[in-house]
Assembly symmetry: C2
Homo-oligomer: 455 residues x 2
């Protein structure tokens, strides 16, 4: 019994079937999902909103029919509201009680909608909402149409989704204000995130840093209907036709309240590398935290790439296999491309504060270089932040902001982190060089070398 | 006394000065070079030929004046023809004998010019030559002008230089035939290199595989001057106005004959990680072989990125430092972009034959995927060849051929090879995912996973 028909759940279901074919296990898999879509790319929604992806169908990796054809009993529109782990049953919103032998929790992470974004009666405003589900995406396309040319969007939050939605809105010709309580793009060090903020501004967006949104301005039209007209924070406000909530997500585990299953303070499950949570209970994906190898800590990183990997390991293990999810090194990436600006933005490893918390004595430095040899037309500026431990010389983190070819460079650093390598490994290893692709020493290596020289 | 004023030699000289400032060593550095340029990017010459790099000045990283301003006694036009290691002297072509305390051999690797490419008296033909020095590059620009529109170039050799020169000639609107004795692009497995050959053909070039060029067709014009009109091989020929020799290079160590220094059969020196060859003798760069970490073998890989790294380690060590060149994992990259085709081409690690020779039982597979998530406009096709050892599961090699963003993906595999990781490490590690940059599982990970499943 799998609850949740997206990346983690369906990866688990299909891998369980594949492994069962090998091990000879007989599996009957039921998947319940409260929504109407399966296996869609939540990460693609901003690009659908931008008009880069033409049709919602393209975002659906596998349809319900395809899952069913593979032998999975998929029941959409079926919300699970409670689980009894001792009795091995779940209860649906329709009041049905369903038995299971093994429960897979893959309920994902719904968007956070703060109280100030709702009417007093708790219902949502028309032109305000998050960007999480395909229904959200469809609603935003309708709202963009309804708001018309010249409308202004306030995006609350400057995480990856915030930046991606700002890109989408700018590409659609809308006015954009990004408001965040942070000092820049979440998940980057300040000295890197300010480069993203500058690009947003240069592309025509307004960026308001370090403020906490406290409420919406609401007006009544002639017919008495309420309409959002602005976003307020301490000391200021902005007029807004549309308000995007890009504040984050939280583990979708409310239905487990009272089930006896232990969760982290934020509600996340903490499965082992095979996806086991408790006797008869498994979990993977955005409803879980993941283990960060560098400092051996649990962190909440609701990303599709972790969900599919952990789901696959879970499915294999459930059917008698041995695949294990090996944890993360906290790699992520996005892009900002609008208004003549183009930035690839990526990180891996720890931030400075995390490194200090883990007992390291971090040495950090930003190095500026180019993505290709300087004389090539492909050469774009790139800034690389590198952090290493002063005592052990271990690489601790790398962040990059730059033009074409900048972002995926963090993968190389991620591989060094994966192997617990040093900043010297990164500086001296054998990376691919030719003029269209890098300087003789790749900028990543120059950056690592400069940190190595300062230790 | 440094012989050779390019990547390795000048990296060594400058690093020695830097380290000496720290260690307090007093160093007087003399650099001799038979040419007229210093520190130029040989790798950039094809792009200069293509017209992508506007001026030869852009290819010169540091001028002679800049080196001299740093305190280096740089003597251009000074060819060293012999060395007496016991007496610690070198002899120049002008008959001068110069004393040294420490000798740094950084003479690079001149292009191979086969006998069939020369007149009977050993002099070169006007429209035939290699692509190695800045003078070669300038000569090619003159030849392109002289040959005029519609001229036909035969490129002999399909290594990286061959492919890059084919790109340059196609971009200039010339007809191109690439002739190679190999079965495809050198340094790639056949199943990968055939993709490059197809792209060359689709771009309008002719590719002739598996033939050995035996001679040139030469005609006399009215004035009695000889002119090359074609290239011959067993059973066939092609008309040619221009013939590019892209057959390879060889270590420039002829002047060491009789010096008592040991070289490999190909003439290459084999310095230790600090650049030491013998008492009082150091070497780095294209005149050397490098140590391949994967199978612990000496290989001849005349690449600028190895030369600058090894040169830097040498200079540091010479001045009392401890930097060491850590060897290679055989990474390299190029691009083919002409005639509407765009391919990034890269490799790291061993080839199948090398792996077998090293006693491995290799499992290999080609996986086709996309550089970005399929629904994104950025998604280009990419093919990834992965090889791992059946017994130890160690990753042994990765090759990629694909569109924008394909090539530098080998760096991630190179980092895994550097750390002696397994194919499972590559499959399960935490690489950056967002729709414009990769599929949920990066194609490199899908490829590694598929190999892992077949072991």
């Amino acid at each position: 019994m799998v609850v949740g028909a997206d990346a983690a759940g369906m990866s688990a279901a299909h891998q369980a079937l594949r492994t069962a074919r090998r091990t000879g296990d007989e599996l009957a898999i039921t998947v319940l999902d409260r929504g109407t879509h399966t296996s869609y790319s939540a990460c693609g929604i901003p690009y659908w909103m931008a008009g880069e992806v033409g049709s919602v169908d393209e975002l659906v990796a596998r349809t319900a029919e395809q899952h069913r054809a593979a032998g999975i009993d998929l029941r959409l529109g079926t919300e699970v509201v409670a689980a009894d782990v001792a009795a091995r049953t779940v209860t649906t919103a329709a009041g049905e009680t369903l038995e299971y032998d093994e429960l897979v929790v893959a309920t994902g992470a719904p968007a956070i909608v703060p109280d100030w974004a709702l009417r007093p009666d708790g219902t949502p405003y028309d032109m305000v909402g998050p960007v999480k589900t395909l229904d959200d995406g469809a609603a935003w396309l309708d709202r963009f149409d309804a708001a018309g040319d010249g409308a202004h969007v306030v995006v609350v939050g400057a995480g990856y989704i915030g930046v991606e939605v700002a890109e989408a809105a700018l590409r659609r010709g809308l006015g954009v204000t990004v408001v965040t309580r942070g000092r820049g793009l979440a998940l980057l060090e300040d000295e890197m995130s300010e480069r993203v903020a500058v690009a947003l501004c240069d592309a025509g967006a307004e960026v308001v840093l370090g403020v906490e949104v406290t409420g919406l301005d609401v007006a009544q039209d002639g017919a008495g209907a309420e309409r959002v007209t602005g976003v307020r924070w301490e000391g200021d406000q902005r007029d807004a036709d549309l308000v995007v909530l890009a504040i984050g997500v939280r583990p979708g585990t409310d239905f487990l309240t009272g089930s006896g299953l232990e969760t982290a303070d934020n509600g996340a499950l903490r499965p082992d590398p095979h996806g086991r949570v408790a006797d008869g209970v498994w979990a993977a994906g955005d409803c879980c935290e993941v283990r960060r190898r560098i400092d051996d800590r649990w962190v909440f990183r609701p990303l599709g790439t972790h969900a599919t990997k952990h789901g696959r390991a879970l499915g294999d293990s459930l059917a008698g296999g041995e695949l294990a999810f090996q944890g993360i090194v906290d790699t992520s990436i996005t892009r900002f491309a609008a208004g003549g600006q183009y930035l690839e933005i990526a990180r891996t490893g720890l931030g400075r504060a995390e490194a200090e918390e883990a007992g390291h004595d971090p040495v950090t430095l930003v190095t500026e270089g180019t993505t290709a040899t300087g004389y090539m037309p492909e050469a774009d500026p790139i800034a690389v932040w590198v952090m290493a431990d002063r005592d052990t010389r271990r690489l601790l983190g790398v962040q990059v902001v730059g033009g074409h070819g900048a972002g995926k460079r963090v993968d190389t650093a991620a591989a060094v982190l994966w192997a617990q390598g040093t900043v010297d490994d990164l500086a001296w290893m054998d990376l691919a060089y030719a003029p269209p692709f890098s300087s003789t020493w790749d900028v990543l290596q120059i950056a690592a070398r400069r940190v190595a020289e300062r230790i």
